[in-house]
């Protein structure tokens, strides 16, 4: 099947208001103003924006959970609300905070039920479950009730549940929130492989820049209910000059380090202006982590050394804040 030119998500002037009650008065809040977006088959798109920018509202309208107040939306060629049941066969959704699984049942049993829900025949169910269990490394906890799973395990099971019926479009709402580094890494690697194999279109909302960097070809940034950027993440970071922060743990406290090409972003764990842990922000386009570390090492006196170091990636929130600030 040629999917190269198919449009998977298309919205025109999509908007949604909520009526909220404040005491006796009723007020209309615009959650999404007028969104025009397009996602082609096979794309991987990061949908980012501040809390309350309208991300969840958009996703709910794409799935047919909410009726749009205005505008048009087509998901996989279906109008989500009237064609919800047909659409459900073509999309898989993971809402970070709400589970598709049955909390008191083993994961394997949840998969069996979901296979019946989506009408998979025995051969397809066996093949697809086997594939997902192997790739997401679920076999170690397949027989454990979902409520006993760790967050990382549960998230992997949720993603498998959403992909069991081989949907064309996978929507992930904050898939890596709260996960440790290793779990994030495994999940991202799986998603890359899954997309390579099946050409699944991906739309994901996240606060984690790592997710966007490693998973998405394109970023959509929404602000106050409208699209303000569509393009690569690199392009977005360039426009706002996103920085990385090097966190250094020193053996002996020092006054704030002054390193060319970096900005000092605070010290901790020392007295009298000295700091054991220091943060240096740098622009990855202008210098490298290795150069910054070398410059720091030069400045350390005898008997002092860098015990540990971490690089903090720019937070999506941070990039978003900068874009928003530039627009206002």
């Amino acid at each position: 099947m040629s999917t190269a030119t198919q449009t998977v998500i298309e919205t025109r002037g999509l908007g949604r208001d909520f009526r909220v009650r404040e005491g006796m008065r009723r007020r209309t809040v615009v959650a999404l103003d007028a969104l025009d977006m397009r996602v082609e088959a096979g794309e991987a798109v990061g949908y980012i924006g501040a809390n309350g920018a309208g991300k969840s509202t958009t996703i709910k309208m794409l799935c047919g959970i909410l009726v749009p107040t205005r505008g048009e939306v087509l998901t996989c060629g279906h109008r989500p609300v009237p064609d919800r049941r047909r659409l459900a066969r073509e999309i898989g959704v993971v809402f970070g905070q709400r589970s598709q699984l049955w909390w008191d049942l083993p994961t394997a049993e949840s998969f069996r039920i979901l296979a019946a829900v989506h009408g998979l025949d025995a051969a397809r169910e066996k093949h697809r479950t086997g594939e997902l269990v192997e790739r997401l490394e679920l076999d170690e906890f397949l027989t454990v009730p979902v409520r006993q799973l760790s967050l990382g395990q549960r998230m992997r099971a949720e993603v498998a549940a959403a992909l069991l019926h081989s949907p064309r479009l996978l929507i992930l709402d904050e898939p890596t929130i709260g996960l440790d580094v290793l779990s994030k890494q495994r999940l991202r690697e799986f998603l890359v492989a899954e997309r390579r194999e099946h050409g699944t279109t991906l739309l994901l909302t996240t606060h984690d820049m790592g997710d966007v960097e490693r998973l998405c070809d394109r970023v959509l940034l929404v602000d106050r209910g409208a699209l303000v950027y569509s393009g690569t993440l690199a392009g977005l970071s360039r426009t706002v000059g996103a920085e990385r922060v090097m966190v250094l743990d020193l053996a002996e406290p020092l006054p704030p380090l002054q390193v060319a090409g970096t900005t000092h972003r605070g010290s901790e764990g020392g007295t009298g202006g000295l700091g054991l842990r220091q943060r240096l922000a740098f622009d990855p386009a202008a210098t490298t982590a290795a150069k910054v570390l070398a410059a720091v090492t030069e400045q350390l006196g005898a008997g002092n050394e860098v015990l540990d170091l971490a690089i903090e990636e720019p937070d999506v929130e941070d990039v978003v804040r900068r874009v928003y600030a530039a627009r206002r």
Partner: protein, 266 residues
């Protein structure tokens, strides 16, 4: 042809889960039976001081109780967890239902089943059988049909009450106490002779929520009793009509509720 496999898969897993906690399941069964007998005893105690209540003697009341209680318990077993809708709304479970290719209401109804209600239905059945034995029923084909019709219509009517209440939850935040007044109040009303009700109660539980049609009126018809001006004995045959009306109410409430959830606000 509707594919029932998805619903069967969910229900089978619920049943397995309930039976796997054997001790608590037995405890649930035991307490259900106990509550049923206490309610029955309550009526018997009432008849220590009076001979007749609303034109019915103790034997007839036991029959009313039996039909109503058994019908309600069966409806409660299948539809009772519609009461959990506020929890589902808060936890976002309902949003997950939207992601599956089955109708929402069908998914909600089949999302759980309370097997312990079977114990309660057994108490109702015992009262029903006792009622049929102690009353002087003129058995005929027509009366046998009437009895079956009454029980089936009763289950359908009470089920509709749960769905009606579910639909209302979309509007009422923490409003299940208000709807419980009608669902469980309705159940209580259904076990009573409707002839003792005042006019407002006849309007509410006689016709709007047709509780009188679930057990009281069929019992009158079965025993050949005259009934009252507002609720004459022959109305017992109209139990299926009442059941259809109850579902009209239920589906109207459910559809309005879902529209509100998707469209109106909050």
């Amino acid at each position: 042809m509707v594919d029932l496999a998805p619903y069967r898969a969910v229900l089978a897993s619920r049943i397995r889960a309930q039976r796997s906690h054997r001790a608590s399941f037995r405890l649930d069964l035991g307490s259900s039976v106990l509550v049923g007998f206490v309610e029955l005893a309550e009526i018997a105690v009432l008849f220590l001081t009076v001979d007749r209540l609303g034109g019915l003697d103790l034997a007839a009341i036991v029959l009313v109780f039996g039909i109503a209680d058994m019908s309600f318990s069966l409806a409660d077993m299948v539809f009772g967890h519609c009461d959990n809708l506020p929890t589902y709304l808060k936890a976002g479970t309902l949003d997950v239902f939207y992601l599956r290719p089955q109708p929402l209401l069908a998914q909600l109804v089949t999302s759980d089943i309370s097997l312990r209600r079977l114990a309660r239905a057994a108490v109702g059945l015992a009262a029903l059988v006792a009622g049929l034995v102690v009353n002087d029923v003129a058995w005929s084909l027509a009366n046998a049909v009437l009895l079956v019709l009454a029980v089936v219509s009763g289950v359908v009517t009470f089920s509709a009450m749960f769905v009606w209440a579910g639909g209302m939850q979309f509007f009422l935040v923490d409003g299940y106490e208000a709807t419980n007044a009608f669902v469980y109040g309705g159940r209580y009303a259904a076990t009573q002779p409707a002839s003792v009700w005042g006019r407002p109660l006849v309007v509410v539980f006689g016709f709007f929520f047709p509780m009188a049609f679930t057990a009281y009126l069929p019992t009158l018809t079965l025993l050949g009793l005259p009934g009252s001006d507002w609720l004459p004995g022959w109305l017992g045959w109209f139990a299926p009509v009442a059941a259809v009306w109850a579902w009209v109410l239920a589906l109207a409430s459910w559809r309005t509720g879902v529209r509100h959830y998707q469209g109106g606000g909050g």
